[in-house]
Symmetry: D4
Subunit: 224 residues, 8 copies
């Protein structure tokens, strides 16, 4: 991955042994390289049973159940960049994907605000939380079914919006195709879409956006 981000393992389709081994290799590499300012090692798509086995081999491995992520984390994990990633989700069933985004962002050193269960069927809940949208530096919108939330949020917000379609739904949702197309065709401009259920990817993109701000500032552009 990119400089300064944690080492990440995609857990899906790997055996417990493989995952454990890669985690330890990454841990030692992080340590030896030293220069890493964020010696976090994380794995996504880890089911509870897999974590139970991993924990026996790596006792200091932490588990974020709702995000299905496990990680080696330093004692205190605090935001290392300015700005906040606000994550908004439509329904209860979208939670695992939304949390994958949230925990990934936090493990990468970013500040996160969560706003769950504000689907457009009851739009007043979203509207009464408009400050979350207006105060955000970057927004991640997680929604399944028809995925309309992304368009509505992008219409209300004035910052970059990252849309994550989820596979939540049935029938003509076709495994997340419906919200994916919705988000790609958003009538509100300025929405970047990631793969279905890809909370991880959304967090990395959001992180890159906040780091861009950091770098631009560091290069002194506000001196003039």
């Amino acid at each position: 991955l990119r400089t300064g981000f944690p080492e990440v393992i995609w857990g899906q389709g790997k055996t417990t042994n493989q995952i454990a081994q890669i985690i330890e290799v990454m841990r030692s590499r992080s340590v030896s390289e030293r220069e890493s300012r964020n010696p976090v090692v994380m794995a996504t798509r880890i089911e509870p049973e897999v974590y139970s086995e991993l924990q026996l081999k790596i006792p200091d491995l932490k588990y974020y159940a709702s995000a299905r992520i496990c990680a080696l984390v330093p004692p205190q994990l605090e935001p290392q960049y300015h700005g906040t990633i606000s994550i908004i989700s439509a329904g209860t069933a979208d939670l695992p994907v939304a949390e994958e985004a949230a925990i990934t962002a936090e493990l990468c050193g970013f500040g996160v605000k969560r706003l769950w269960d504000v689907g457009v069927a009851g739009i007043h809940r979203l509207l009464s939380n408009r400050h979350v949208l207006t105060e955000a530096n970057v927004l991640i919108v997680v929604a399944g079914m028809e995925g309309a939330l992304a368009s509505v949020v992008a219409g209300l917000a004035d910052c970059p919006v990252i849309a994550v379609p989820t596979s939540i739904g049935y029938g003509a949702s076709f495994g997340g195709l419906a919200p994916l197309l919705t988000m790609l065709n958003s009538c509100a401009a300025g929405v970047g879409v990631v793969n279905i259920d890809n909370g991880f990817g959304a967090a990395i993109l959001a992180g890159q956006i906040l780091r861009t701000a950091d770098k631009l500032s560091n290069s002194g552009f506000k001196q003039d």
Copy 2:
């Protein structure tokens, strides 16, 4: 078609001669049958050039350009049923489909309210017209691109909602597939979807809904 609705010709893929001939056949049938309380004859999907030719053959044929509909209409055409069909559209380019719905409904004897250009990218315009939603007896929502408007409207309204996806859009809209899937997966329950660009079908369904109310009332159900 059903009792009491006008005679309708689907103009697409028919020659001008065929259309003119069917119109005259239908006119004479309407006249001879007499009992028809709505002797309207209409044709949908009529391009301006086709109308120019039709007009030469049938001078009293009226044209509704934005709806691409032409019709034989009685001198005064007034609502013959109680209640109102409110039609809401997302963007300027959806107008032809929205007007197809509106003119069809009016020719069928229903009162129509129009609310154009209230797409979710600028949701305040929709919200500042909430009375249109709350006062409606039936709602028709016409939207292309991602079609998110239908979900938002269904979440705000408390009446039957008919959703019409349009083929307006490009790329991953796939000719209207995107808003079609959006509307079918609406997280707000109680939305009935018709074919892409089918303003006509939406108006007929809306009309049936208002006639149901009429019939139920006529059968005296409020006497008790």
Copy 3:
């Protein structure tokens, strides 16, 4: 959901604990608000095993096995609106979806008539029950395989028709895509389509249609 409808939980993809908890929250909210004229709480897509566990926690929870719905229901549940929702299904395997529509409608306070197993392969069965179609105020048609029943019914009936494609079939049915497309392209106008297997959504839309009549009457339109 909309005013006057029951509180509804979409059971699919939720744990038994989550469902039990939401039911109790909704029960207390219904009670405290009081003004609710229909203090029903219901959950759809509940498999028998899930109900077995739920019942231990909520002894007064009722189960409608064929509809996969469980609900808290008042002692006597009687129609609270005028008119009838007639539900027609094509084959034995479509029953769960048809019953999901029927039970939902009844729990929402509507009168329901059922006509099962009248697929178009033996159209005489449908034709010898034509009175069900002509007497209906709203029709829900549930069909899998090729879904042709919706077109035939819409051609015979003179009231709003709601079509529910089901995932029953195999091969080129593609999980319900075949009947979905059939229903969207119905050559008989005035058919509103809901998502594949969405008996619940069909019932809500049908309910809204019957309530429209009620509201129009209450607003005194028949006085003149």
Copy 4:
């Protein structure tokens, strides 16, 4: 093609010159071979303008405009096989495909009965012509939009049914995909489906079916 059938050219995507040349080659081959009992040469998918040019080069070439077929035909063309192919179509716009089937069958030496415009939206027209179905030896059903006619016919008839989906329709018809899937998933068993708009192929299959009877009889099976 098979023994005893006419020589056929698929006109689509060929130049007028190519078509004219192939027709003459086939004519001379037919003549020289002599033994052919059906010296017909035909070309399908011929637009009127193409025929105008062909006629200049081959004055005795006949044109069947509604079927878009041109052919060299012997002075009197009479059925050469027992039995009848009954062809049923749903809407006016399906006519070219239905006629392609009808003219092909006649040029191949089969007796044809036509029943046009009996779509399921007005099923009474089909039912009042039930004798066409019950008297048929083979049925060809031509329908676009949702294609439900094939299932209804197969449920009523007691003979082989060949279903031809057409590209007539719009939106979610997806160029004929909707009626194609409908016909493949027909809940009435015993329906064979051909390609979208393939009236020609349906006629050839129907012809083979009638010839099977002829051959079985000739092989003396009724002697016992």
Copy 5:
């Protein structure tokens, strides 16, 4: 189903109890009606475990394991119609579908010839069995993967060809879509296609074809 064919139950998605019950209902109906010349009752898509349970309830129920069909059959089951249905399959894995066609045809009273494992990858095996093709009265071709066998057979044979795509394959076979499209686009005319894996439907169509011959003969057409 149609006159003279057995009563058939589609076993897929039915419980053992439901199947057992329907079989007994059909048996008594067959007996009471008497006029049935073929008192066979059959059920398709019956897995071995389901049959084990059914057998306990209906001891005289016979099982055709490779066809996944169980049936009540009269002591001797002999062809009742003239002519033969020849069934050709491409690969070993297509066997269940090919046998579903074969057993269905036999239970319906037709003579069947089987030619298994003659896929086009080794076309010599097909060519050295050409007599099967030339002697056939009707052909059923069963093939998965790319389904090319149907085109080749139709090119060699001179009788009606029914093509059955199977879901055998992987990857870009997309559950049988590949052979389905192959068969619909067959460059050899006169192929009727049924649904993916629908051996049953192919047999019924083939049976109708042979019965057409029978009826035409009985109506005395060979007297002249």
Copy 6:
């Protein structure tokens, strides 16, 4: 659109008259509101012939032919934000989309660097321009055919990457579906995808990202 961005018209599917009228309305609104720091009015998807007509009505309207954009622009148009948007395209045919992104970004007040024709078939051209990637603050990657460029760039760069699939290609490109899927499945994390051919949307998203830096700086976060 969002605060501080120009007024934008989507030209596709609008008549010349409609476009001219909207431009003038927007011009007067911009002037009257005054507070706008960027009084640019622009229209996308304008073909040369349309511009020829527009120019007659609005003489000061400028045309960017390769981008198919026309705009009212202030005398000098200079970057108003810090940082640079680097735009990379794969092939010559992708140019219109890449320029749509570039001109949009410039009209919005952002600095732009262009790197054209660096498709992965000749990856050395991309590699010898690596400084463009490493110096970028935001990257827009425009590619048709298989769209592999986005993954390669995202793997090399350390900033947010916005991927724009184009409809350039043929056959199994399916109008841009191929590069769209490629970009959504990018094995390099942190890629946000916009609709096929949507250069405009990519530029707006990139602009939002650079403005995030500006805002964060303004809010004084670097003071500490």
Copy 7:
């Protein structure tokens, strides 16, 4: 492109001016570089009208009409590699793609054998030309409609087979998707598939295969 192959321009979507300019640039580059052993410059997808204009600017530009290719060719163009590329096509309409492959291969310095119009509907024509298959060093199979020819050829031949699906067909051919899937699922192993209508790509791959042989021989592997 690769070493030793001609310079190639993809003509589709380029203006005549652009094409003429690129040809001249490539000509001078070829000349100046000298070391090129094959100073051919070619452009594919050139319609006749485009060539007419090009010829005015570049008089020595040659046109291969059936292949839609134009090229600068040295006085005598002779095979420069051992072995032969045999190209087989199914129908007349596939000719342009088959010739694109043939002319490309010849311009690249390879010997080509053509076998046209041997579709599987009349498999005897293919079988009576079996020597073409058995003598080939590489085979290119070009077929539209259902594309079955590739499987049959691969089953008969004992050399690498490159399959080119074409967009020839209609209806469920879906622009070449049908033969594409057929070829990808070929039951005969060892078939490499290129994009729909991509005769050019097939020729390049075939050329690489013959060059591999050349290189292996040159590296002296037959000395032992």
Copy 8:
């Protein structure tokens, strides 16, 4: 299969008994025919549990776990042809498909070089192994997710490239459709694509390519 290749069984969807039986039949046939220069018998898609059972029946059966292949192999298995097949894979999860290709090629008597885990997200790993590409005689590229590796490799290499898309990925990968389309649309010419996950087919095609060189040499073409 073709002359000189091993006998191969496609294990998927066959019972252990069927596989064991076919292996033994093939072994005896190989022995009796004698002339076979490569008496290898192999089966693909064999899960570990299946092998455990097979081993009991056929003790000398060898298992290649990572390739899911089992085989009867001669004591020493050495390359029998000149040249090398280099196999390149993108990610850890693509290993089973890559090994299926590798082991198949080795069992067929070809020399194999492996280069694993060189996905384009970290393109430096591929670039620092460029010698593998430049030294290869034939390349097989195995990649899932977006499959971009194939285009990059084809752009760098100068030999035939065979691309194998894998089903590794999720969401909009649609079971391997994404990399399949990527590879078919490769902007680098000369890539032949096989079915999703079809490592076996890629190896056979690669083998045919190397054998072409052998045959051309044997036919003496280097004598001159």
